[in-house]
Symmetry: C2
Subunit: 105 residues, 2 copies
């Protein structure tokens, strides 16, 4: 991935409302949540919520689908995964020192 594309994805994650949306949707699981419920959960107005949901789904972090009156959003792990892979493999060349800094498993 070129630096410009990775930078654009990191910019989307550089906002705490948007990180809170991701947390809420990870918790919600495969059923996802409606825009209204997400807004209520993160404590943001409808237009503010919509602004952030748009930034997230435009860049592939979320997928949306209309369900009668509601718009239902759910997480798409592929984009986050691509970003983690970019950091570890592309940017840091698979550094074992970095791997030791990630407390996983």
């Amino acid at each position: 991935m070129v630096s410009e594309d990775a930078a654009a994805l990191f910019r989307v994650l550089s906002n705490s409302d948007r990180l809170d949306v991701i947390r809420a949707l990870v918790e919600a699981g495969p059923d996802g949540m409606s825009a209204g419920d997400i807004g209520r959960k993160i404590g943001a107005s409808p237009s503010r919520t919509s602004f952030h949901l748009n930034a997230l789904s435009e860049t592939g972090f979320l997928q949306k689908e209309r369900q009668s009156r509601n718009l239902n959003y759910r997480i798409n792990f592929k984009t986050i995964g691509a970003l983690i892979t970019f950091l570890m493999e592309d940017c840091c060349k698979g550094s074992s020192e970095l791997r030791n800094c990630c407390t996983m498993r």
Copy 2:
């Protein structure tokens, strides 16, 4: 990590010059590089380079040390590691689906 702190770290990564600095310093290894050499490598003016180096070292992505006339910068993997851990464990609750999206090892 709270969302605000993670967002601030992601913001630092949301610029392609800064990602290029990280790439250059990963490549340079433990000896690091001087500010001037970094600037030449990424093709940025001295003040522009300094601006980005400051953003990176202020937030712990880099460490700096004066070596006579030069300021030598080297990568600190801990901050990137903390961010990857945040994404995988904190934000995405260790999701195995996410783990499968990260092409590693």
